[in-house]
Every structure is written in C-alpha cells, then in structure tokens.
Symmetry: C2
Subunit: 293 residues, 2 copies
C-alpha cells in the first residue's frame, strides 16, 4: 500500500513555519502580511474557499480580508476596487476568486492586479517569469504547494520522469514548467498530456511522478500507474452521494482505492493537494510582504 | 531517405506572402513596417545575424535599421536608447542582439522594450501570454518559425508525441509550450528534456517529432530516432574545418548524415531552421504593424 502524502499534516507544519516568520516581522515593529480576497456573487463553493483562506490567514498571524460584491457589480467597478487595493500600501496580496460572472472579463481583472500583489500568480508577468525560471515573481498556488509537499517528503524530482495530466493555466501548465525548470524542486523530465493526447496510458506507465489535474473523477486508474510511482491528485469534484449527510462527497481525479495498491506514495482527496494550495498562497503573500520590507 | 524540410525555400515563400501584405499596407497609404535592431560590440557572428535580418526586411518591403553601439556603452545609455525607440511611433519592432557585454544586464534591457514592440518575444508579458495560450503577444522567433515550417509541410502536430531537447528560454521552453498549447499548430503531447534527463534515448525513440536545441554538434544520433520521425535541428555551431575556405563549417545538433537515413523528414543545417527564424521575426514585426493600424 502506498504511503499517504498527508497534505493536511504538512500544511500544519508549514503554517507553523510561516507563523514564526510573521512573528519575526511583527517583533521588528512591522505590520503583519495582509491578504485580501475578492468574492463576487454567491457561489457556495467559492465562498467556502475564500473563507478557508481567510481562516488560514488568521491562523498564521496574517491579516485576512474578504470583500464581498454582488454579482451585479460592473467590470469597471470591480477594476476600480482592484486599483484601489493596488495602491494601498497596507495590503500585500490580492486574489479574486474565480469564476467571475459572465459579464466580467476574468483576464482583464487578473491583469489589472499589479504583479507585485498577484499572489495567485495569474498575471502574464508572473507566468512569464515562471516560464523563464526567474523566481522574482509568484507561482500559481497549487503547483507551488505541490512542490512544497514533494520537498517536505524528500521526494527527488531531478532526472525523474514526471507526467502532468491536464494543461490548465492554473495547474497543469505551471506545474509542468515548475517541475522542468532548473531549480531545486525541478529538473524533472516532464511530459505534459491533455485531452488530445493519444495512448495516454503508455505515457503514464512510464511516469515516476504523476500529477493529475483534469477535474474528471477517478480518471487515473490502477492500470495507468507504474508500481511505486508518486501520484499527486489535484482533482476535487463534488459527487452526489445519498449515503453522506451533505448529500455529496469529494472525489479526486485518481481512483484512490485501486491506485493506492500500486503507487509508492499518493495524495488523498480531501486532505492532499487542497491544504497545500492554501500554503502556496500564504507563502506567496509572505514573500510579497518580505519583498516590501 | 528522409524528405528534406527546406527552410530556405519555405522562407522564400513566406517572404513573398509577407511582401504582399506590406504592399497592401502601403497601397492604403500607410507606412511600411519598421524593424530596428540594436547591436552592441563587434562580434562577427552577431553582426552577420543582424545584417541578415536587415537584408530580409528590405526584401519584404519593411524598413530595417541597425543601430551600432560600441561595447563601452553603459547600461543606462542603452536603456535610454530603448526607451526612445519605445516612444517612436514610426518603429514597430525592436530587437537587441544578444549576447550583450557583461556589464549590461540582458534581462533589464529585454524587459525595458515595451511588449508591443518586443518582436523577439523575450519580454515576461509575451512569455506569459504564450504560456497561457493568449495569442495577443509575440512568440520567440525560432519556435514560431518552426511551427510555420511544420504547417507549410502539412505536418500534423495534434495528438503527436513531440520531444524537445533543451530548455532554453529562447527556443526549448517556448517550443514546448507552443507545441502543447490548444492551437492549430499545437495539441501535441510534449516531453521537454534537458541536461538532467535520464535515459534520453528511451524518450526520443518514442517521438513522432524531435526538436533538438542544445547547441551540441551531432548530439542526436541515428539510434535515438524512431523510423519515420520528423527531426527539427535548431543547432548551429561553427566547427573548425580546414577543408573549407573559411576554415569552418556549420554543424547542427543532429548527426544529419546518419539520421536522414532513419527520419521521415528532417531540416538541414544550414538552410533549415535558420531561415525560418528570420521569417518568425518578420511575421511578428508585420503583426506589430497591423495591430497598430
């Protein structure tokens, strides 16, 4: 049976590490890091996410603010708010929870956040820096959190074959870059696969590390995994489940029950990548504060 | 024997296509596209490159200017010149030939060129747009020229396995992104390999398309290539050769004589990727002009 990569426990460890750094900052007479999240509309899932992020901020000693706007807000009003935060010297990081209502251009919002406060790493400049291996920017929180998890467990990436499934701008693409860059958490040979990939199984069977980020429950089956491989499951989908009190349960992109018998190490869902995404965000916000000091 | 992918002939075709577009622009009473190249110092190779680019500009009806500066120019003086060109409405594209003298920070220069005139595609914003599949930016000329060559020959990339050897910011990295993006010239499954890759031969033998961009003459040998594969050779190294009048000859990263017996299609060196790089640059400059109109 595979070793469980316990994102919950590791995130607790990193929270303590970050909290120590916050103490050092405030002990020196400086204000704590401050993260602002903007939430537009009433999506239940999105609200859960931003509240979790706010709670994590409090836990590590950050100031965490959530700004709620109705889904009737115009794009101009939202951009004005973003610009106001851009100019506020008491705010280090700003994230806008996606998705946004259809009348708002998400890319316009993302690109309006100044790169220095773009702790989600979605700005073109931060994506460009990542692609060039320039670590003066910010890396998308989920890929960053995954590399922190790998590092915590001493999982070597250099020279390994990593197969990333899914080419989204938020996970798959930056993950593929991060793992192949010349850096301590990179240097892997990376194959990026996606919906147009043929013979996917032939490719995943060669992987020392699999990162599944497609949003299709149980997509990665046991016959796709090389014995001993490290399997990172980014997927998190709500499936109807009448046996649960809530009426649903969370499912990852990996058929966990079957794959854990084959893999060497594996992340569960929930409790794997999810908590590490929050750590990636906190880490970026801490960096933003430290760069300002 | 492999079919030769004739970059010289294809570049002539594209030059004619671009020239037609220039005529349409000037016939409508607008000025022709204008590309400026800055060359610092006296490197013979660099001078050859920029003069070739200038000549290509003239051929397609662009205005082409080369600005020469001594290698004693300070970084501030160079940046001031870049800013002057940024502000000049009669210049559409600016490239600064690399490498620069050691006292000048290349990245500072590259990032000072406004993204709208960065027809080399080196600016963080253009690299970020590429990584996100946003085609409103500019793609590094060599990868762009290679995709134009593939397209000219009707070589399908979708669903194919492409292996890129080398992860440079100018070729390997953007090439890997371009081939895997969701676009007409992408949708390939891409493996990016580099100096830390283990068992490279096992990987290249699976490739339908190999792009070699490492700068090591004859690195790709026949036993690394699957019969029928498409082999793109980006390498261009001067090797001493007393049998040649010049005392040297150009060598690619591929052992051409041996690999052409195995491959399905192959680019020669010279006359393959080199001329297509110039086309990539002209194409970007034409786009810059058209976006301004």
């Amino acid at each position: 049976m595979a070793e469980i990569l316990d994102g919950k426990a590791v995130s607790d460890f990193f929270k303590q590490e970050i909290a120590k750094e916050v103490l050092a900052i405030t002990a020196a007479g400086n204000r704590a890091p401050h993260l602002v999240a903007i939430l537009v509309g009433n999506d239940g899932g999105s609200k859960t996410y931003v509240e979790a992020k706010k709670k994590a901020c409090k836990l590590v000693g950050f100031e965490g603010t959530v700004l709620y706007f109705p889904d009737t807000i115009s794009q101009d009003e939202l951009l004005a708010k973003v610009n106001e935060i851009n100019d506020d010297p008491n705010i280090d990081g700003l994230i806008v929870q996606l998705p946004l209502p259809k009348h708002i251009n998400e890319n316009a919002v993302t690109q309006t956040i100044v790169p220095e406060k773009d702790v989600d790493g979605f700005h073109d400049i931060n994506m460009g820096k990542l692609a060039k291996g320039d670590n003066s920017g910010y890396t998308s929180a989920t890929p960053l959190g995954i590399t922190m998890l790998l590092k915590y467990y001493g999982i070597e990436t250099a020279g390994k074959h990593a197969v990333v499934i899914g080419r989204s701008n938020i996970v798959g693409r930056p993950m593929s870059i991060l793992l192949s860059n010349s850096s301590e958490t990179g240097n892997a040979t990376v194959t990026l696969t996606h919906s147009r990939t043929q013979n996917l199984k032939d490719i995943t069977l060669q992987a020392d590390i699999i990162v599944a980020a497609i949003g299709q429950p149980n997509f990665v089956s046991a016959d796709m995994v090389k014995p001993g491989a490290i399997v990172i499951d980014v997927g998190i989908t709500r499936l109807d489940d009448s046996s649960k009190k809530a009426g649903w349960r969370l499912a990852g992109d990996v058929d966990f029950a079957a794959v854990e018998k084959i893999a060497g190490k594996i992340t569960p869902v929930p409790g794997g990548v999810g908590p590490m995404t929050v750590i990636g965000l906190l880490y970026n916000t801490l960096q933003a504060r430290k760069r300002q000091l």
